[in-house]
């Protein structure tokens, strides 16, 4: 297991009013993403517990791209990862923000 934490400053806060959302399941090649609207509107943190060690630079790239694309200001994102591939991670993050954007 490896713990990773990334902090980003965003240009804006994520739209919507939903306070929290969860998507995905912890399984082999899958992950769960918990999103909570609990930070300052220009802040986003991502904490990851991953089953596979040594992919810190890939996580960093995936999270940076996601933050740049969605600007998820205000979100505390926590991930339990069962060894998901980067595309699955991105998909879950996008699914999560779509849920959070619901009014």
């Amino acid at each position: 297991m490896e713990k990773l934490t990334f902090r980003h400053t965003t240009n804006r806060s994520l739209a919507g009013t939903k306070a929290q959302a969860i998507t995905g399941v912890v399984a082999s090649g899958n992950l769960e993403v918990l999103m909570e609207r609990s930070l300052a509107p220009d802040q986003c943190t991502v904490e990851i517990d991953t089953a596979i060690n040594g992919y810190g630079d890939v996580w960093e790239a995936v999270i940076s791209d996601f933050v740049a694309r969605r600007q998820p200001g205000g979100l505390r994102i926590t991930i339990n990862d069962g060894g998901a591939r980067p595309d699955t991670v991105t998909l879950r993050l996008l699914q999560g923000t779509r849920l959070m954007e619901a009014v």
Partner: protein
């Protein structure tokens, strides 16, 4: 052109129960917008044991518990996530279900619904898991004695095995789909202990006709057979709550008598199809291919309909 024989609907209620996550099953099962989760993921009440095994945890420890309304009435619900560690019972996982069942004594809901999806006890926390199984069975008995029906819904990926199979046996009513399986020992366990000649776990048709939904329904091991959709499970749950038997000595004695008769009649059968033949089915081999409607119609026409007491 042929009619489309498979639903292509995007309505959440038409989605496959088997494929849906525990959360999606619950969302669709109760009245829209009525589900309230207890000890939600944001509380991060996770397994204290898995980190010692270098294994990832889940925010809900693989079971979602809470309250919702079913056709307006309050129900307590628990859904296991079969994809997280095979839906297995660990310490937190088990405690959440025990707590929910005990809360039923106070809350007096119209029913407790348990959405089973489990391979049994989690090996990494086996002592806590085994204890939880016992506590859950006791809590179910107490809830039933207090007049709260406990209905099990079985149609997930992991089936309902091990301690889950034992717990299912204590429920007031059970609903199962074709892909659902109910048993204590799983196919691989039987094969490991008794050899592939006794039970070939890779012969999936054999696995299903021995442990699958249709067989359980035919021999009275389940009380209703549902299509693999969230809607079908919702409808069946509603119907079965109303049919839950009283929990008293008479019910238990009737159940004991039923099981004794069943063992007498079928104890020497070598294959499920033999049992189905003795039950009066003309074409046992055709049973696995039947759709729900035809299968239910067949049950009604049987000389002796599957009987239960529980």
């Amino acid at each position: 052109m042929a009619m489309v024989p498979v639903s292509l609907s995007a309505d959440p209620l038409d989605q496959s129960w088997y494929e849906a996550s525990a959360r999606a099953r619950l969302d669709g099962l109760v009245d829209p917008g009525t589900f309230e989760e207890f000890i939600g993921p944001e509380q991060r009440v996770m397994s204290p044991h898995l980190p010692a095994f270098d294994l990832p945890r889940a925010f809900d420890d693989g079971i979602v518990v809470g309250r919702g309304r079913l056709d307006g009435s309050i129900v307590l619900v628990a859904a296991q996530e079969g994809r997280f560690m095979g839906g297995a019972f660990g310490e937190i996982h088990g405690a959440k279900l025990v707590g929910l069942l005990r809360a039923a004594l106070v809350a007096k809901p119209a029913a407790v619904l348990i959405l089973f999806d489990t391979g049994g006890v989690r090996l990494q926390e086996a002592n806590a898991g085994e204890t939880a199984i016992a506590e859950i069975m006791r809590a179910i008995v107490e809830a039933r004695m207090a007049g709260v029906p406990v209905v099990g819904l079985i149609g997930g990926r992991a089936g309902c095995y091990g301690g889950g199979g034992l717990i299912a046996g204590t429920c007031s009513r059970l609903v199962v789909s074709e892909v659902g399986r109910i048993s204590v020992s799983g196919p691989e366990v039987i094969e490991t202990n008794r050899g592939a000649e006794e039970f070939d776990s890779r012969d999936r048709a054999l696995v299903w006709r021995t442990m699958g939904g249709k067989h359980r329904r035919l021999i009275g091991g389940a009380d209703a057979f549902a299509d693999d959709t969230i809607r079908a499970f919702r409808d069946a749950a509603l119907d079965q709550i109303g049919r839950a038997p009283a929990f008293d000595l008479a019910t238990l004695e009737a159940e004991q008598a039923r099981l004794e008769t069943r063992l007498d009649r079928f104890g020497d059968a070598r294959d499920a199809t033999e049992i189905w033949g003795r039950l009066g089915l003309n074409d046992p081999a055709a049973v696995p291919g039947l759709d729900t409607e035809t299968f239910d119609a067949l049950l009604v026409r049987l000389p002796e309909a599957p009987r239960d007491a529980r």
